[in-house]
Amino acid sequence: MTVTYDEALTRYEPVFGLETHVELGTRTKMFCGCLTTFGGEPNSQVCPVCLGLPGSLPVVNRTSIEYTVKIGLALNCSIASWCRFARKNYFYPDMPKNFQISQYDEPLCTDGYLDVSVGGEIVRVGIERVHLEEDTGKSLHVGGATGRIHGAEYSLVDYNRAGIPLVEIVTKPVPGTGFLAPEVARAYVTELRDVLRSLDVSDVRMEEGSMRCDVNTSLSVLGSGVWGTRTETKNVNSLRSVERAVRTEIERQAAVLDEGGRVIQETRHFHEDTGATTSGRSKEEAQDYRYFPEPDLVPVAPAAEWVESIRASLPELPSARRARLISSWALTDLEFESMRNAGALDAVEATIAAGASSGDARKWWMGELARRANEAGVEMASLPITPADVARVSALVSAGTLNDRLARQVLDGVLAAEGTPDEVVAKRGLAVVSDDSALLAAIDEAIAANLDVAEKVRSGKVAASGVIVGAVIKATKGKADAARVRDLVLERLS
């Protein structure tokens, strides 16, 4: 028995939560001086500490604390004045010590929020906590059909990743989003990613694993006020998957509940290809991690002055930037969102800074250049044209040297690497013809070739002049300024 999404929403209210793990972009690992660069030879970036060799000891990387405080402040959290690391004890081959140094009941940051915009409405997603822990090694499972654990004969473990600092950001449960739950979840992850990028604390690439999401979903019977059992879905590796995973779980859980069954508290695995989730590990017997304060590390007590200096160094966050640009560019929320989704914000701001008007900058980037980026299948930021170039083209149009049509040809030339806008104008001879005498000559020819139209204009049908103007434009290969030609034609035929 399957249930459609829409049907499910008529009977149930979804509640979701997200746990996001972010690899911090520090140079070295959380507790040792090994490099964190991605893609090294296996086991070439390890030392006694991150390998957990007997006798080794961890020492906290100061920058990881700084970055975590930055994240907490950007998410409007309270920063702990005193906290400790804790050991999370469990056995697993990718964990060299068979415990993970993490934080338990004393996270560095708590109780914040992140506002996300969905369909023009603001949803406030509560942040429960932000804490620091160390990443694990990576295993290759050999011998099974899919490269996954099931059916594998053995595994090969590389500890280069072990010990890289990981920040865990946990939301409070998010109820009340109804139909929009999947979109809100996706919008949250998107906004979070943008916030983290603006802080420059991580390269946050979901495809590379530097940002990983687990999605928790539960259903409440509509109107009951009682929250249902929640499941945890892992292997959610893209923004789109976040949305799909929430949607799929809502449908699946609704089907179970409709049949009178109960949702089992468990961890599920999301499949990119089918969009379905399958049962992984049962969480019936919740694992007891036997947390206790890490005895090899002393407490972390960030000084208030230090926290304030970090706060002062925060860049403009996406939400503040959004408010600023919507106001100064007089955009609607939807217009802003489409610009943001197109990746045009930085380029437009920079073009304005280079001298263009905000209207012109937006027009060029969201029009002609967005189209070109789409055609080429690339991000706008990777087009081979700079904001300075675009500002120059815009300036040339304002000065009358170019009209829109010519301007598009200049952009073509710059994108084709023919040079700067001025160089392209010169090479291709694209300047608007502004010499009246040359225009008059072309006008007289056009009039001579269209005597009946000319007669109409003389008799008062001004609109008919368009034919003459068009002929002149064609004759000058588009280099005439249409408005000027029209004026001259009307003068000539008055």
């Binding site: 296996p42 070439s44 056995f91 295993s139 099931h150 053995y154 002393v298 972390v300």
Partner: protein, 97 residues
């Protein structure tokens, strides 16, 4: 009071494959020890903060600067099994996230 089954459970949690003889031998000893250490519960400790670190130190950090690491040969030097410059471990049953 800790039973033999409790001890068997603890052994499983601790990844110790104890034999029956060992369980027979160790269980009563553990019971005795646990009864003795439970004495701490007699102490009136209302409002007494626990001590996890005796030195009173806080905020001990290292700079985010690289330090020399081990070569892969050194890292793998004690390994029971190696393949493709990685630690070869037996098949893992339960997937951990």
């Amino acid at each position: 009071m800790i039973t033999r089954d409790d001890v068997a459970h603890l052994a499983r949690l601790s990844r110790l494959a104890l034999s029956d003889e060992e369980l027979d031998h160790l269980a009563p000893q553990l019971d005795q020890i646990i009864s003795a250490v439970a004495q701490v519960q007699e102490v009136a400790a209302e409002g007494i903060p626990p001590t996890s670190h005796a030195t009173g130190l806080a905020n001990v950090f290292r700079d985010d600067e690289p330090r020399p690491c081990l070569t892969p040969e050194e890292a793998l030097s004690g390994a029971p099994a190696v393949e493709m410059q990685r630690f070869k471990v037996p098949r893992i049953l339960v997937e951990e996230g």
